[in-house]
């Protein structure tokens, strides 16, 4: 029942009053015109009928009230309804329209409101579309960059100005694995990871100095500021690091002088430095050793010059000469062999599948020479070590000259193994050519139409430490240029194990870290969504840490910036140094022979500690896992002092009325797919997914910071369980 509008009641009351006044006024006017006898007569007539007059007034008032009410509804109620409906339209997220009703003006108003709403919806849709498009573009660019980085053969790491890693590629990870102290353990994941500090892997002073130099160069307006240094890292390895700045973009106007981060390109130069010093030693040995030998020969020859030398002595001096000559010969041969191998490192030769090179040559010759080029007898298994660009130039150059000067109609390419080399033949049939012609073709600088290169075919061949010559095959009436090219030392170097195939693109980057401010606010009061977490789980021989049960597997994953980094996981079996009870094997599926030969906890814990550094630990039923870790503290000296959060307790904070807070039950509630349950890494990943879903739910309850989360957890009933 709606309340009647007080304004309507007031209007009716006012109408009644006006009617009453009008009655009184009219009566008074009529009364004043009457003579005395008339007044008495009228008074008598009316005296008994006053009630009737009153009833008439009431009836009149009712009619007026009815009219007023209709008017009120039309001119006050209808706008009011329209207002309410308009408010609904205002708040609606989806397009919604009013029904035009009531007076013409009201209908027109509704239509106008509808038009406004439609306009707003159109704008909103456009905005949404633009935002979606923009974020898709950004995502595409990021993906493209990530893909590019992943494929690069150079180690690349990008970090922000505070040295936090925001991006790295597969190669960099391999490079760091080589530096890692426990390479077989964490795959170098404790050194390199999104959000980790680059200073964990590289000398802080050296790097900071380089950053500073670049910052200064940028401020001075240097066009291409960069720095390069060689630094020694763990295990005496040498890294050459090239640093370039990442600048804040300044819209269209150009580049700002604010450096927001740095790109590091890393080269492990340990080997090449070793090679250099070996080469120095070789040369040194050659010069010093030769001097000594020459002196000995010189002396012996001088002695032989005496005419009166007796035969026995003569024989001795001759022996000296023969011996020294032999040793010099060996020395030179030795040097030649070694430097022949070194030669290959002087020019940047790439490993290339021979068949690919032949196919490329076929395409290029076909395009440049305008004659058919066929492939014949191409060995599909040969890997060459070549500078493909100049080699293709040389082949094309020879091909074009053959076509232009000898009217060759078609060319053929062959590739086969020839001892320690590959032989690549450019074959044609046609008239013979003189040796002079071959020589000049070999020695002239190559020309392509109007283009000239400073290189000759001979230079290209020398660059490969190879050979080339002209041959005739009389049997087939064919002639050929044969190139001897170096084979790749082995099959192309291991490009690293293929990363496990994941449903999504590997998360090798997180550009949001460019925006993080590194104010050293205490962890306790930082928002949960901003913290970096190591979510971990252990599998153990049993449930009694104090009674001699031990860890047999540790699995962990990182959460940085609210993203789970599956790429940077930690997964390690541990030899418990005791037998695994048979009844526990069905639970974790780890048998005695699986832990056989695995590292002991004392070796694993330091690496795991490094992996979890500067993060908040998260585990399901954390007290249990922490107990196992703490028991090792005395033996290993490794203590985990990080704050710890327990998803079991926090799940109970969020859903106090739920029966079960077992991992599976929570996973089901949150619709998290459970893979590899009861493997440490599998459980850690599930726990991580659950934790990511818990964070917003905790925020709804006003739990935003680490401190609040820990206090809330302590209050829950489960906190009283003690292991």
């Amino acid at each position: 029942m709606k309340r009647t509008d007080p304004r309507l009641l007031a209007a009716i009351a006012l109408a009644g009053l006006v009617m009453a006044l009008w009655l009184v006024l009219m009566s008074a006017i009529v009364w004043s015109t009457l003579s005395l006898p008339e007044r008495e007569a009228v008074g008598e007539v009316l005296a008994g009928r006053i009630a009737l007059v009153f009833v008439g007034w009431v009836l009149g008032l009712m009619a007026v009230a009815a009219v007023l009410r209709v008017l009120h509804q039309r001119y006050v109620g209808a706008p009011h309804r329209l207002l309410e409906e308009t408010r609904v339209v205002l708040a609606a997220r989806r397009p919604q329209l009013l029904k035009p009703r009531g007076t013409r003006e009201m209908q027109a108003l509704a239509v106008a409101v509808n038009e406004l709403a439609a306009q707003r919806d159109r704008l909103r849709a456009e905005m949404d579309a633009q935002v979606t498009q923009a974020s898709e573009r950004v995502q595409q660019e990021k993906d493209r960059l990530a893909a590019l980085m992943a494929e690069l053969h150079q180690s690349v790491v990008v970090c922000n100005h505070a040295g936090r890693i925001l991006l790295y590629n597969q190669r960099a990870r391999q490079a760091f694995r080589a530096l890692s102290q426990g390479p077989q353990l964490a795959d170098g994941a404790e050194l390199i990871g999104i959000g980790r500090s680059i200073y964990a892997a590289l000398e802080r002073q050296v790097l900071a100095h380089a950053f500073e130099r670049i910052q200064q160069a940028v401020t001075k307006g240097d066009a291409r500021p960069s720095a390069q240094f060689v630094t020694t890292v763990a295990g005496g390895q040498l890294l050459r690091v090239q640093v370039a700045p990442v600048r804040a973009s300044q819209g269209v106007s150009g580049r700002s002088t604010e450096v927001t981060g740095f790109v590091l390109m890393l080269d492990n130069v340990t080997e090449s430095v070793a090679e250099e010093s070996e080469r120095d030693q070789l040369l040194h040995g050659l010069t010093e050793g030769s001097r000594a030998s020459l002196a000995n020969i010189q002396a012996a020859v001088d002695m032989l010059g005496y005419p009166d030398i007796e035969p026995a002595m003569r024989e001795r001096f001759l022996g000296v000469v023969r011996e020294e000559v032999a040793s010099m010969g060996t020395r030179v041969t030795d040097l030649a062999q070694r430097s022949a191998q070194r030669l290959k490192t002087r020019w940047p030769l790439e490993d290339m599948l021979g068949a690919d090179l032949a196919a490329a040559a076929q395409r290029q010759l076909g395009a440049r020479c305008g004659c058919p080029v066929t492939l014949d007898a191409i060995d599909p298994a040969l890997w060459l070590k070549v500078d493909s660009y100049t080699l293709l130039q040389a082949l094309t150059y020879l091909g074009t000259r053959l076509v232009d000067e000898f009217e060759v109609r078609f060319l053929q390419l062959r590739l086969a193994r020839a001892g320690a080399h590959a032989q690549l033949d450019l074959v044609w049939s046609g008239q013979a050519m003189s040796n002079e012609t071959v020589m000049s073709w070999e020695m002239d600088a190559m020309r392509f139409g109007t283009e000239r290169t400073p290189l000759s075919v001979r230079d290209v061949v020398e660059r490969h430490g190879g050979e080339m010559w002209f041959e005739r095959e009389r049997v087939r009436h064919q002639a050929l240029f044969r190139f001897l090219l170096p084979l790749a030392s082995s099959q192309p170097e291991d490009r690293g194990p293929a990363a496990p195939v994941l449903a999504s693109r590997p998360e090798f980057y997180d550009f949001d870290l460019f925006q993080t401010s590194d104010e050293g606010s205490a962890l306790e009061d930082r928002p949960l969504a901003e913290l970096t977490y190591t979510v971990f789980d252990t599998e153990t021989t049993g449930l009694n840490p104090a009674g001699g049960d031990a860890i047999i597997q540790i699995g962990a994953a990182r959460i940085v910036n609210g993203k789970l980094l599956r790429q940077e996981s930690f997964d390690q079996l541990v030899d418990p140094g005791r037998s695994i009870p048979a009844e526990s094997i069905p639970i974790h599926g780890i048998s005695q022979d699986m832990v056989e030969g695995q590292p002991r906890i004392a070796q694993v814990l330091p690496v795991f500690h490094a992996f979890a550094e500067d993060t908040v630990l998260v585990a399901h039923n954390a007290a249990f896992d922490m107990k196992f870790l703490q028991l090792q503290e005395e033996a290993t000296g490794i203590a985990f002092r990080q704050p710890v959060l327990d998803t079991l307790l926090l799940s109970a904070v969020v859903h106090p009325n739920q029966e079960s807070h077992r991992l599976e039950a929570i996973a089901e509630r949150f619709d998290v797919a459970v893979l590899g349950r009861h493997t440490a890494l599998g459980d850690a990943l599930v726990t991580a997914e659950i934790w990511l879903r818990l964070i917003p739910l905790l925020a709804e309850q006003g739990i935003h910071t680490l401190r609040q989360a820990r206090e809330a957890a302590q209050k829950t009933y489960y906190a009283r369980l003690k292991y």
Partner: protein, 126 residues
């Protein structure tokens, strides 16, 4: 048994003097050429049974001389023993591909050289 003719084609007098002395002692008729062009002319003129051919020579390299000789059917019987200070296996492969019958890297023992020369002269070129 006629005396076998050997041509020494090398631009280094110091090795030529020893080789000439050595081969004459072994009973061969020895002639000398000091560059690639002279070597080719000498081969065509004198038709030696065997040429000791140095790879690094002025005007024409040993490889060129070798290729020219092999391109001339009239000289098919000429045995060629290449001598080179280049010891890479690619050089050896090139020398053999261009038609040398044997290839020796400097420094070599004179005794071995004499043995190889005798062996090559004992049989005809295929």
């Amino acid at each position: 048994m006629t005396q076998k003719k050997i041509l020494i084609a090398d631009d280094e007098p110091n090795i030529v003097v020893s080789l000439e002395y050595l081969l004459q002692r072994e009973g061969y008729a020895v002639s000398i050429a000091r560059d690639g062009l002279a070597a080719l002319e000498a081969i065509e003129r004198e038709k030696p049974d065997l040429v000791l051919l140095d790879v690094m020579m002025p005007i024409k390299s040993g490889f060129e001389v070798c290729a020219s000789v092999r391109g001339d059917a009239a000289l098919a019987h000429t045995r060629i023993l290449m001598l080179s200070a280049k010891g890479r296996d690619t050089d050896l492969a090139k020398g053999m591909a261009l038609g040398a019958d044997d290839y020796m890297t400097k420094p070599f023992a004179t005794r071995e050289l004499v043995a190889r020369v005798a062996e090559m002269l004992a049989k005809d070129r295929p």
